[in-house]
C-alpha cells in the first residue's frame, strides 16, 4: 500500500496547467517545423512562420500559446494499492486546475449551465474527469487543455459493419474537411473505433494524448493512420485553411471491441497546439 497526498496532486496539476498553456509538446513542435519546410506557397509559409514564432514567444515570455486555454480533461488511472490522503482525489484535481488557471493568468472558459444561464464559473472548473482503476501502486493523471474551436468540429457516427474500412476513411475525411479552417489547422486528429456511442468518443480523445511520433502498435491500424493522414493532407486545407500542404500533423487511432451490430467511429479534432501532459506519481 502506497500513500499519496492530495496536496502533491493539487500542486502538480496546478503547475501542469501553466506548462501546457505555455509550452508546445516537443513532438508537435517538431512536426510543425517539418510541416513548415513542406509548404511552398507564400500564404501558407507566412501562417506556419507565425505559428512557430508564436510558439517561441509563448514559451519565452510565458504567454499562453492560444487565448482559448481550454477545458481541462483528466484521465486518472489509479492503482488499487494506492491510498489517497488529505481529501478527495477528484477535488484535488479541481483545486489544482482552479489555482493553475488563477496563478498563470489562463482564461476561465467554463459556464455553469450549458443551455439557459451560461454563467462563467470564473475558475475554469469543473474539469472533465475520467477515472480508471488498475493494479499496483501508481497514480497516473493525463491532463489535457482542450480548446473548443476544434472540439466543436468533432463528430461521432454509428457506422454499419458493412461500411467497413471505407466507411471509416470516408467519415474521418469528411469530418476533417468540414472542420476546415475553424479547427486551427494543421490539426492533430484522434480517431476512436469500436466500443459504444459514448466510448468511441472517449477513445478518440485518448488518441489525442499519443505522441505524434508514435504509431498504433497494430500494423493494420498503423497503416490506416498513414492512409488517413494522406487523405487529410490531400484535402489541401493547409495551415490557417489557406490551401497549403499540411492539413494534419498526425492521426492517431484507438480501438476497442464492439457489438456484432455496430461500428462506432468518433473523430476528435484538435488544433496544432494539442496541449497535454502526463503526471506520474
Amino acid at each position: 500500500m502506497r500513500t499519496i497526498h492530495t496536496e502533491d496532486i493539487k500542486k502538480r496539476v496546478r503547475e501542469a496547467c501553466g506548462q501546457m498553456a505555455h509550452v508546445y509538446c516537443s513532438d508537435i513542435l517538431k512536426a510543425l517545423k517539418e510541416g513548415r519546410e513542406r509548404e511552398t506557397e507564400e500564404r501558407s509559409v507566412i501562417a506556419m512562420d507565425i505559428l512557430l514564432e508564436n510558439a517561441e514567444i509563448a514559451e519565452k515570455e510565458q504567454i499562453p500559446i492560444c487565448q482559448d486555454t481550454g477545458m481541462v480533461i483528466a484521465f486518472i488511472t489509479i492503482g488499487q494499492d494506492v491510498r489517497i490522503e488529505g481529501g478527495l482525489l477528484k477535488q484535488a484535481v479541481e483545486d489544482g486546475v482552479m489555482e493553475g488557471y488563477r496563478d498563470y493568468y489562463l482564461r476561465a472558459s467554463v459556464v455553469s449551465d450549458p443551455l439557459f444561464d451560461r454563467i462563467n464559473t470564473r475558475t475554469n472548473t469543473p474539469a472533465i474527469i475520467y477515472t480508471d482503476i488498475t493494479e499496483g501502486e501508481d497514480l497516473v493523471i493525463e491532463l489535457m487543455q482542450k480548446g473548443f474551436g476544434s472540439e466543436n468540429m468533432s463528430a461521432v457516427k454509428m457506422l454499419k459493419p458493412a461500411e467497413g474500412i471505407e466507411g471509416v476513411i470516408g467519415f474521418v475525411t469528411d469530418t476533417i474537411r468540414k472542420a476546415g479552417p475553424n479547427a486551427c489547422p494543421p490539426m492533430i486528429v484522434g480517431v476512436g473505433i469500436g466500443g459504444t456511442f459514448d466510448y468511441a468518443a472517449v477513445l478518440a480523445k485518448k488518441a489525442l494524448l499519443h505522441s505524434t511520433e508514435e504509431d498504433n502498435p497494430n500494423p493494420r491500424y498503423a497503416a490506416l493512420e498513414k492512409e488517413l493522414l494522406k487523405r487529410a493532407n490531400d484535402l489541401r486545407i493547409g495551415p490557417m485553411g489557406l490551401h497549403g500542404k499540411t492539413t494534419a500533423l498526425k492521426i492517431n487511432i484507438e480501438t476497442y471491441p464492439t457489438h456484432i451490430a455496430g461500428l462506432p467511429c468518433a473523430v476528435n479534432i484538435c488544433c496544432h497546439a494539442c496541449r497535454h501532459e502526463r503526471l506520474v506519481f
Partner: protein
C-alpha cells in the same frame, strides 16, 4: 505586407482584395458570442449600444487575463461563424471591419457586399504573437462577461489576410 490604418475610407476598402496580406493598426472592439447576443437584444429593444458601430471594427477574441504590466494576455481570433447569426444586423448598422478566423455564411457575405465592409482573418492559435500587436486595452461594456466583455483595443501591425472583400471574394474559396 501592406499596412492599413482603421477606420478605412471607401477607397482603402475597395483596394483590399481577398488573399491580400495586411498589417492592421487602429482601434478595434473585442466581441464574441455572449457580447453579440447582448448587442442583438439591445438593438431589438431599441436601446443605445455601448459602442458606436458606424465605421468601427470588431475583433472576435476572448483574451486570457492581462498579466501585469502587459495590457492584455494571449489574444488570437475565435471562430467567426458563431457570430454569423448576429452579423448582418451589425453590418447594416455600420460595422465596417471584422477580424476572426474561418468561413462566413452567405448572409454575412451579402451584407459585406451591401455595406462595403471587409472580413479579415488572422492566425488561429497565435495568441501570444498577436498580444504583442496590442498596445492598449480599455474595458467598455459587459465586464460581467469576463473574457467575453467588450474591450477597446489599440492594435499596431496586427498580421491579417483579407478573408472576404467588398466584392464578396472569399480567401477560402479561391
Amino acid at each position: 505586407m501592406k499596412k492599413i490604418k482603421l477606420p478605412l475610407n471607401e477607397e482603402e476598402i475597395k483596394d483590399l482584395k481577398a488573399g491580400d496580406a495586411v498589417l492592421v493598426s487602429g482601434k478595434v472592439y473585442t466581441a464574441r458570442d455572449a457580447a453579440h447576443k447582448r448587442l442583438h437584444e439591445m438593438i431589438q429593444n431599441h436601446q443605445e449600444l455601448p459602442i458606436p458601430l458606424e465605421g468601427s471594427a470588431i475583433y472576435y477574441v476572448g483574451p486570457t487575463p492581462a498579466k501585469p504590466p502587459h495590457p492584455i494576455g494571449s489574444a488570437g481570433p475565435t471562430t467567426a461563424s458563431r457570430m454569423d447569426a448576429y452579423t448582418p444586423e451589425l453590418l447594416d448598422l455600420g460595422l465596417q471591419v471584422m477580424i476572426g478566423k474561418g468561413k462566413r455564411n452567405e448572409a454575412v457575405k451579402e451584407a459585406i457586399i451591401r455595406n462595403h465592409a471587409v472580413y479579415l482573418i488572422t492566425c488561429g492559435g497565435a495568441g501570444a504573437l498577436i498580444s504583442h500587436c496590442i498596445t492598449d486595452a480599455r474595458p467598455v461594456a459587459f465586464e460581467d462577461l469576463l473574457a467575453e466583455a467588450i474591450v477597446e483595443l489599440s492594435v499596431k501591425d496586427m498580421p491579417c489576410f483579407v478573408g472576404i472583400d467588398i466584392r464578396g471574394n472569399d480567401i477560402y474559396e479561391e
